[in-house]
């Protein structure tokens, strides 16, 4: 740290960028300490998985070919011929799932700690967009190996988008690049996955992180006393080292999953083959898929699936605009939001389990 080269470089940069301010902020930055402090790690874990996604994604790009004719073969080439290609692809797939899981847990902890309330509405909204973007990454990336399961799951998934009133038809054609899932769909999903979504994600992520730095971490009202009684943990190096420890453990879990349960490649997609039995989307879409599947064909004279989509759209809007809808404050507490959150979690859990159990 104290080598002359480092010092000279630092001085050179400091003269131009006034790094002192930044360093002072980093030195002062502290993480509140209370019994729910562990929740602060989920955001960092999500970031860690995202960094892995970017790194492994770039490596996959070196060999992947985004056409219906060559996509499956190129992924097969990656996992069979390219040195450690199997590991890179497996880490990319596992890490994607762990990232969505970690982002969801991060959102849930923020929800239950009511950390979305004033002044952190913008942080919630940027986070919500990032969660939706990560699901978009999952949906678009799922199709890229161009295997049978992905092909039919994408057909079902885009079909649902097509059911949305008024704009459904246009949306379906926009997503598929035509009437059906074809090579055109693959090419545009590839474009979304490696260009459009990363660009938007970078912007929202930067905003999300800047907002957190600007506003500091929220402390739940129930532990305000506890947090006030204890000195905050310095972000550098104490919290950062703990975060690194967490990342190390996450990396170990990821390495074990990727090596012991390499992500399957399946059979090449064939548009003319009958849909295989038991087509299911990725686990994070399963609760919606299962709900729509269980709804009767018509309900109150309206198509069941359409009602389901309206329900999920409304629930999504409520979730997104929670910071302005939840009128409770630290002084005027209301358990309603907590109970709604618990209800939503139970519903998601039950529907996901049913999605796996039911044929």
């Amino acid at each position: 740290m104290s080598s002359p080269v480092f010092e000279r470089t630092y001085r050179w940069l400091d003269e131009r960028l006034t790094l002192e301010d930044l360093l002072a902020h980093a030195k002062e930055k502290a993480v509140p300490q209370h019994r729910y402090s562990f929740c602060y790690f989920f955001g960092g874990a999500t970031l860690f998985f995202l960094m892995l996604q970017v790194m492994t994604g770039i490596l996959l790009l070196l060999y992947y070919k985004p056409t219906a004719e060559a996509a499956f073969e190129s992924v097969r080439f990656i996992v069979t011929e390219v040195s450690f290609g199997w590991l890179i692809r497996s880490i990319h797939s596992w890490s994607a799932n762990l990232m969505v899981l970690s982002a969801f847990l991060h959102m849930a902890t923020v929800f239950f700690m009511r950390a979305y309330r004033k002044p952190r509405e913008l942080t919630w909204w940027t986070g919500a967009v990032l969660l939706l973007l990560s699901m978009g990454f999952g949906f678009s990336g799922y199709l890229l190996p161009w295997n049978e399961l992905a092909f039919f799951a994408t057909r079902v998934g885009t079909d649902m988008a097509g059911k949305i009133p008024l704009v459904g038809g246009y949306l379906l054609e926009f997503l598929r690049g035509g009437e059906d899932v074809t090579g055109a769909t693959l090419t545009r999903f590839f474009g979304f996955h490696v260009a459009v979504l990363p660009m938007i994600t970078t912007a929202f992520l930067a905003l999300h992180v800047i907002l957190i730095q600007r506003q500091g971490m929220s402390v739940p009202a129930s532990v305000k006393g506890e947090a006030g009684a204890r000195r905050g943990m310095p972000f550098f190096p104490n919290f950062f080292l703990r975060e690194l420890m967490g990342w190390g453990i996450a990396l170990a879990v990821l390495a074990a999953l990727a090596s012991l349960f390499p992500w399957e490649l399946g059979e090449k997609a064939d548009a003319f083959a009958p849909a295989p039995a038991g087509i299911k989307p990725e686990w994070y879409f399963l609760f919606m898929f299962q709900t729509l599947k269980m709804l009767p064909a018509t309900l109150f004279g309206v198509e069941g699936e359409l009602l389901g989509l309206i329900f999920f759209s409304l629930a999504g809007l409520l979730w997104f605009f929670l910071p302005v809808l939840d009128r409770s404050t630290e002084e005027r507490r209301s358990p309603l939001v907590t109970w709604i959150g618990i209800g939503a979690l139970v519903f998601i859990a039950v529907m996901t389990v049913l999605g796996y159990v039911m044929p």
Binding site: T80, P234, L241, L244, G248, I249, A255, L260, E264
Partner: protein, 418 residues
């Protein structure tokens, strides 16, 4: 019920063929066990749908006014009325139209018109001509009224219905007693590889009675023609057999070719046990211990068993690697190729010579070896991955432990501690 009758009436009135068919109107009303069902069944008959009436076969005048109760005007012999035709007259009666190419082509330009000519060559046709009224004529298989197109799954001549239709007479011991032929064919067919394909899997390509015996020209294939009948589907085996030493030997011994080993109606799924010099081998029926033929049979069997066993080992290895999550699709494709070699080697048994079987087995063994090597390489790679994982985990855990100790050191010394 009333609704059904109204619909039926509407259909009858709307159909030009029915508008003039008084026969049906009256015969449906009669509570007669023979007349009423026949009139009712005619509604679905392919002939009714083509615009024909009862008079087309029975003669008479279906448009005659019989309101005064004098039905003789409709059933007037002067107008060609023949009543119920004699059984011996039925083929000729049907053939009046069905053998007339220019008439039949109005309905279907590709329809066959040789049924009557074929029927006359059949055992049924010949016996009918001799005055045997028990044998099958057109209506025995196609029904008299309510005749359905051959492609209709409900038709008694639809592939899946044919065994039961033929068995309707041929499986009845008492009915067939005068002819001195077995009546176990239906039962045997049901359990055969062909019957299993037809009834079990619904495979309409599977042979039924008429595939081997013909339909209108039905006759048992002779000893000389059996291989041609079986060979119409099993062409490779037929050609191999025709060029094998067995061809001449079977002819001199007057043995039916395929049937001698595979049976006829009870054709079982072939088994490797059938070939060789050990118990269960059919070769032992003619060959004796130590003769050249039995040695060839034993050597063919030995080679097939060698390929089977190599294939089994290789399959197990590749499957193990696949279960462990390794990508082994190339090895699986090789196994499919090797299995194809086994199928072809089994077919080559019909050459009754060691050489062709040996060549095919060698080809199969080479592919199997390749698949086995790919499977073994996948398992080796799996071990490499596990060792790599263990080493990586050790490094990661050392790093995590180092971080933990650093945090303890930091917070223990009070520097930057919370």
């Amino acid at each position: 019920m009333i609704r059904l009758l109204v619909i039926l009436a509407a259909v009858l009135i709307a159909s030009p063929g029915w508008a003039q068919n008084n026969c049906v109107d009256c015969h449906r009303e009669l509570e007669d066990e023979t007349l009423t069902p026949a009139a009712a069944a005619f509604a679905e008959d392919v002939h009714a749908k083509a615009g024909l009436t009862c008079a087309s076969c029975h003669g008479g005048d279906p448009a005659a006014n019989v309101e005064d109760g004098d039905y003789s005007r409709a059933m007037d012999p002067a107008k060609g009325y023949i009543g119920v035709p004699e059984r011996s007259a039925i083929p000729g009666m049907c053939g009046r139209c069905h053998s007339d190419a220019s008439y039949m082509h109005r309905f279907d330009p590709n329809i066959a018109v040789d049924q009557l000519a074929q029927y006359r060559t059949s055992v049924h046709g010949q016996k009918l001509a001799e005055g045997d009224a028990k044998v099958a004529e057109c209506a025995s298989c196609h029904r008299a009224h309510g005749i359905l197109p051959v492609k209709d799954p409900r038709a008694p001549v639809y592939p899946t219905q044919i065994p039961e239709t033929c068995g309707g007479c041929h499986a009845k011991a008492e009915y067939m007693s005068a002819y001195g032929i077995p009546t176990t064919q239906l039962e045997e067919y049901r359990d055969s590889v062909h019957g299993e394909a037809l009834f079990g899997r619904g495979d309409l390509g599977a042979p039924t009675c008429n595939s081997c015996h013909g339909n209108h020209g039905a006759a048992p294939p002779g000893i000389d023609t059996v291989s041609r009948v079986c060979g119409s589907c099993h062409a490779i085996q037929r050609d191999l057999f025709a060029n094998s030493p067995h061809q001449e030997a079977f002819q001199s011994m007057e043995l039916p070719e395929c049937e001698a080993c595979h049976d006829n109606h009870a054709t079982a799924k072939p088994d490797d046990v059938m070939v060789g010099a050990t118990e269960g081998a059919i070769c032992l029926d003619c060959h004796t211990e130590g003769d050249d033929g039995l040695q060839v049979a034993a050597s063919i069997r030995e080679r097939i068993e060698a390929l089977k066993s190599a294939l089994g080992r290789s399959h197990e290895l590749v499957e193990r690697a696949g279960r462990a999550g390794m990508e082994v699709s190339d090895a699986e494709v090789a196994l499919i190729d090797a299995n194809q070699s086994l199928v072809e080697a089994r077919n080559l048994v019909h050459s009754f010579a060691t050489g062709p079987v040996e060549d095919k087995v060698k080809e199969g063994l080479a592919i199997t070896k390749n698949a086995e090597e790919m499977g073994a390489a996948a398992l080796e790679e799996l071990d490499f991955r596990r060792i790599g994982l263990a080493i990586s985990l050790a490094f990661i855990l050392i790093m995590v432990l180092g971080l933990y100790l650093k945090i303890r050191q930091l917070e223990g010394s009070g520097e930057g501690g919370p």
